[in-house]
Amino acid sequence: MLAVKRRLQEFSLIGRDPVLALSLIISALFLFAFIVFPIAQTVWSGFFNKEGQFSLTYFARYFDSYYGPVSRQIFLDTLTMGVLTAAGGTLLGFIFAYTIVRCRVPGKNFLHILALVPTVSPPFAIALSTILLFGRNGLVTKGILNMSFPPGSNDVYGMDGLVSVQIITFFSVAYLILRAMLERLDPSMEEAARSMGAGKAHIFRTVTLPLLIPGIAGSFLLLFVEALADLGNPLFIAGNVTVLSAQIFLAIAGEYDYQKASALAFVLLIPTLVVFLVQRYYVSRRSYISVTGKPTGGLIEEKEGWIRWPFIIVTYLVSGLIVILYLAIIYGSFSKAWGIDYSFSLEWWKQMFARGIESILDTTFLSILATPIAVLLGMIVAFLVVRKQFSGKQALDFTSNLGGAVPGTILGIGFVLAFSTPPWFLVIFMYVVLFLFTLGILKATFWEKVATGIVGTLLGAGFFVVGARIGQVLLTYLISILSLGFGVYLLFTRPKKKNGVKLVLFGVYGALHTLIEYVAQPLMRAANAIPEGTWKNAATQFPDYIQVFFKLPHAILGCVLIILIVTIALQERTSFRRVLIPLFLGGSFALIFGGKPMALVGTPYIILAAFAVRSLPASVRSGVASLQQIDPSIEEASAIMGADAQYTFRKVTLPLIMPAILAGLIFSFTRHMTSLSAIIFLVSAKWRIVTASILSEWEQGGISMAAAYSTIIIVFVLIAIGILYLVSGKMLKRRGGIDITWGA
C-alpha cells in the first residue's frame, strides 16, 4: 500500500509540472503504440493459426523428422553467421581502433571516415559491390582473373561471402566503441605497470586487455545482434545458405503465411533480446573506463615495429577494399552491361529517374519528415530518463531502445498485423489513458471529476452517433467549427491570447483536413497534364506530400485535441472548464473511434512511425550522453529563478544539447534512408521506398539499376551530412564542432 502511495506521490510530482506530465504521456503512448504493441502482436501471432486456434505448428517443426533437419540447420546457420560476424567484426574494429589511436599512422582522419562509410550506405551496399567485383560475373573474378564457377565450386555466395560482407558492413560499431575505450584508457595505468617491471606483452595481457574486455564483449554482442537482424545481405549473397531473417521475409513475401513468419520471428527474437539485455545490463555496467573521461589514452604510442606495421598494413588494405567496393557500386551504375560490356552509359540512371523517381522522392520526403519527429521524441525521452525520477523510467528507457534493437522484420510484421485493420485494443487503451490523464491532472474534487467523466462519455457517445449519421468528414468539420468557435470566444474574452489561438489553429487544421483537397486536386490535375516522363512522375507526388501534412489519421487528431484541451484547461477558470472538457472529450471520442481508427497500413504515417521507431535509440542515446554532461544544478538554478520546466528546457537545456540534436538529425536521416527490414512490408503502390525497390530490381537481374539506386541513396545521405555539418559549424563555432560518433 505504501509502495502504491509512493508511486502516486511521484506522479503528482510530475503533475506539478503539466508540460512534463504531457511529455511523459505522449512519449509513453507513442512507445506503447508503435513498439510494444506491434512486437506483442508478432509474438502473439506465432501461436495462432488463421482460424484463431492455438497452434504450435511452426515451433513443432523444429523437432519433427520432415521439417526438423532443415529448420534446425537454418537456426544453426543463423547462429554461426552471428558468431563469425561478431568475432571477425570485433577483431577488425579492434585493429582499426588500435591503429588509429596508438600507431602513428598518416591519414588518420581519412581512415576514420572510411571506417564510418558503411554506416551511411544502404545495408546491402557491400553485398552488392562484392557481387559486382567477386561474383560469378564479377569484374575481378571473371574480368581480370577469368575464373569460372561450375556448380559445386566455392564462389562468393554462401556463408563465407555473407560473413565477409557482414564484417565489413558492421565493423564500424566495434571500431567506434573500441576507439573510444582506447582513447580513454589512462596512460598512467600502463606506466604504473611498467614501473613495476612488467614487459610490454605482459602489460597488454594483464592490464590493457582486461580493461578493454567490456568494450570487446559489448562490440561482440552488438555485432551478433546486427548480423542476426540483417535482411539485405543474406537476401543478396547467402546463396544456398538460409538464415532466419531471410526465412521470415520469404514466409510473407513468398507464402503470405503470417503465422509462420511470426513464429519464426519469435525464434529470432529470443537470442537477439537475450543478447541485447546481457549487453545493456551486464556488460556495459562493468566498464572500467569512463565514457565521459578525458581522452588521454591517445598519448600511448605503439613503438614496436613488428606490431605497428602489420596493423597499419591491414588497416590500409581494408580501407582500400572499402574504397574499391564503393567505387564499384558507382561504376556499376554507369556501366552498360556489367560483366559483359563495361563501357560508360547513362542508360541506367535515365531509367532509374524515369521509373523510380517516385520511389526516390517518397523515400527522401518521408525520411526528412520523420527526422524531426524522431529527434524531438528522442530528446524528450532522454530528458525524462536523465533528469526525472519516476516508476517505470527503466521501462521507458528500455522500450525506446527496443525499437532499434529488435530485428526490423519483427517490427515490420508487427506493424502489418497490428495496423492493417483497426487495433481496437490499442485505440481503447489510448483513449482511456488520455481520458484518465485529463481527469487526473485537473484540480477538482473527486466527484467533480466523476461528473465530468460521465458527461464527457455521454457527449462522446452522442457525437459518435452523430458521426455515424453524417460521416467522418462532416463530423471533423463539426468539431473543427466548435473548436474555432471556442477559440474565437477565448481570443475576445481573455487577456492572454495563447489559448484562443490554440483552439483557432486546431479548428483551422481540422477543417483543412478535408479542405486541403481543394488545393491538392487542382495541383494533381496540373501535374497530370505534364507529358509522360520523369517530370510528370515527380510532379504528381507533390499534391500527395502536401496532403500528408494535413490528413493526420482521425485517431491521432483526436488525441492531439485532448492534449490541447488539457493545456488550455489548466489555465482556465473552473466554470469554463466544466463546459470545455466534457465537450471536447466527447468530440475526441468520436474522432478517435469513428471510421477505421489507426488502420495505418498503406498510409505514409505508418512508414513515418516505423522510421521514427528505428532511429529513436540513436537520438535517445546522444541526448542522454549530452544531458549527462550538463550539471543538473544549471537546470535547478533556472528553476529557482522562476522558470518552469518548459522555459528551462527552451532557454537553457536546448541550447546546451544542440550539438547532440544536430548529431541526432544526421543519424536519424541516415537511418531512415537506409532502412529496409522494418519497412519492406509497409510499402504500397502509393508510397514506395528505395531500398525495397533495390531488392525488387535485384531480383529481376537489374544489377546496374540496383547500383544506381544505391548510389543515389549514398549521395543524398552525404549531401544531408554536408548540409548539417555546415549549419552546425556556423552555429557552434564558439563551442567546437559536433562529433558524428554521438549516438552510435
Binding site: 510530482l13 544549471i634 533556472s638
Partner: protein, 356 residues
C-alpha cells in the same frame, strides 16, 4: 518566525542496490527575517538535503515548511520566491555575465530598462562592473562565484540559499568572499540559509548556527553559545578543538555545577538537566589551559610541542589521557620540549560539563 521547519523528515527510497536512506530525520527550526543561519556539519549529515527541501528541489517525506506563516511544501522551486547560490555556481555557459544575471528578470518579463538598472546595481554590489559582456569561460573562479551571487541577489528573494558556495575557492579568496557575502547580506537584510562544513565560515558569517549530524540537529545557537556551551561531545569536537576530561557532577544549581575531577572540585558551567552523582565529561578548550611555573590544576609530561607562530601547541600526558594545550600568551613564549614534566593551570570556571 519567518522561515519555519516543523519536524521535517526526508527519506530516499532504495535505488540501485542501496537501501533506503533517511537523510533528514525530524528537523525543526525557526529562522527570523533578515538573519543568516548556517547549517553546519560533516558530510552526509543532511544539511544540503535540508537546504534543498527548503528550496523545493526535494519533496518532504513528512513535516512542514512555512514561509511567513504560509505552508510552501507543495510549491515547486520556481514558485517559492527564493534564490540559490550553488556549489558549482551553475552559471549558464551559453550566456554572458549580463544575460546570466538578468535571466530571472527575463523570466518574469521585467521591462528592459528596469532589468538594466537592477543588474547594474547588483554588479556594483559584487564589484563586477564592466564585466557584462564576458563569457563565463573567461572568468576566474572568484568572478564566477560573484556572478552566481549577483544572479541570486538581483531577484530580491524572500530567502537566499547558499550551498557551500566557497568550497571551490582557494583559502585567501575564501576569506575575502566570506566577508563580502556577510557584508552584502547584512546591507540588504536578506534572510539567508548557508550550508557549509567549514566551522570558521560558520563562525564568521552566522547569526545562528545549526549543527547537524546524521540527519538530526545537535544544537542551535549563536557562535558563542555553540563554542562556549556545546550541548554534546559531537558539537564540542566539531567546533574548535576540545579536551574531554572525565568528571563527576557533585551538585547542580542553575546553569552551573560543582564537579570533581583529578581529585579536586571545580565550579563549571553545565547543561541543564544534569543530576548530581552522574558521570560526564568536562569540555576544556586548549586555549583555556597553559603551562604554569607555579601552582596548577594538573600535572603531566609534555609529549609533543609545536611552534605555530601565534601560539605554541602542546600535547601533554596527564593521568593516562592527553590534553591539548594552546599557549597564546606572547609573553610566556618558552618552548617546553617533549619529556618535560610540567604543571598545567586552567580557567576551570570556563569549562563546560556534559553528560557522557
Amino acid at each position: 518566525m519567518f522561515l519555519v521547519l516543523e519536524n521535517v523528515v526526508k527519506r530516499f527510497p532504495p535505488r540501485g542496490g542501496a537501501s533506503e536512506v533517511t537523510a533528514v530525520n525530524g528537523v525543526s527550526l525557526s529562522i527570523e527575517k533578515g538573519e543568516l543561519v548556517t547549517l553546519l556539519g560533516p558530510s552526509g549529515c543532511g544539511k544540503t538535503t535540508t537546504l534543498r527541501l527548503i528550496g523545493g528541489f526535494e519533496v518532504l517525506t513528512s513535516g512542514r515548511i512555512l514561509l511567513d506563516g504560509v505552508g510552501i511544501d507543495n510549491l515547486p522551486p520556481h514558485k517559492r520566491g527564493m534564490s540559490m547560490v550553488f556549489q558549482s555556481y551553475a552559471i549558464f555557459p551559453h550566456l554572458n555575465v549580463f544575460e546570466n544575471i538578468a535571466y530571472g528578470l527575463h523570466v518574469q518579463k521585467v521591462p528592459e530598462p528596469e532589468v538594466k538598472r537592477r543588474v547594474g546595481k547588483v554588479l556594483e554590489l559584487v564589484n563586477l562592473v564592466g564585466y557584462e559582456n564576458r563569457a563565463p569561460n573567461q572568468l576566474s573562479g572568484g568572478q564566477q562565484q560573484r556572478v552566481a551571487l549577483a544572479r541570486a541577489l538581483v531577484m530580491e528573494p524572500k530567502v537566499l540559499l547558499l550551498d557551500e558556495p566557497l568550497s571551490n575557492l582557494d583559502a585567501k579568496l575564501r576569506e575575502q568572499m566570506r566577508s563580502e557575502i556577510r557584508r552584502i547580506q547584512q546591507e540588504l537584510g536578506i534572510t539567508s540559509v548557508y550550508v557549509t562544513h567549514d566551522q570558521i565560515e560558520a563562525m564568521t558569517l552566522s547569526d545562528h548556527i545549526v549543527v547537524m549530524n546524521q540527519g538530526i540537529i545537535e544544537q542551535i545557537g549563536t557562535p558563542e553559545e555553540i563554542y562556549r556551551h556545546p550541548s554534546s561531545q559531537f558539537v564540542a569536537n566539531f567546533i574548535g578543538r576540545a579536551n574531554f576530561i572525565p568528571a563527576k557532577a557533585k551538585s547542580v544549581q542553575g546553569g552551573e555545577a560543582v564537579v570533581e575531577c583529578f581529585g579536586k572540585e571545580f565550579r563549571v558551567s553545565a547543561k541543564a538537566g544534569v543530576t548530581p552523582g552522574t558521570m560526564g565529561v568536562l569540555v576544556l578548550r586548549p586555549e583555556m589551559i597553559w603551562i604554569s611555573e607555579r601552582e596548577g590544576v594538573f600535572k603531566g609530561v609534555v609529549k609533543r610541542s609545536v611552534y605555530l607562530g601565534n601560539a605554541i601547541e602542546y600535547e601533554v600526558a596527564v593521568d593516562g589521557a592527553s590534553l591539548i594545550v594552546m599557549d597564546t600568551n606572547p609573553r610566556r613564549m618558552k618552548l617546553y620540549p617533549p619529556g618535560t614534566s610540567v604543571t598545567l593551570d586552567a580557567y576551570m570556571d570556563l569549562a563546560h560539563f556534559l553528560l557522557a
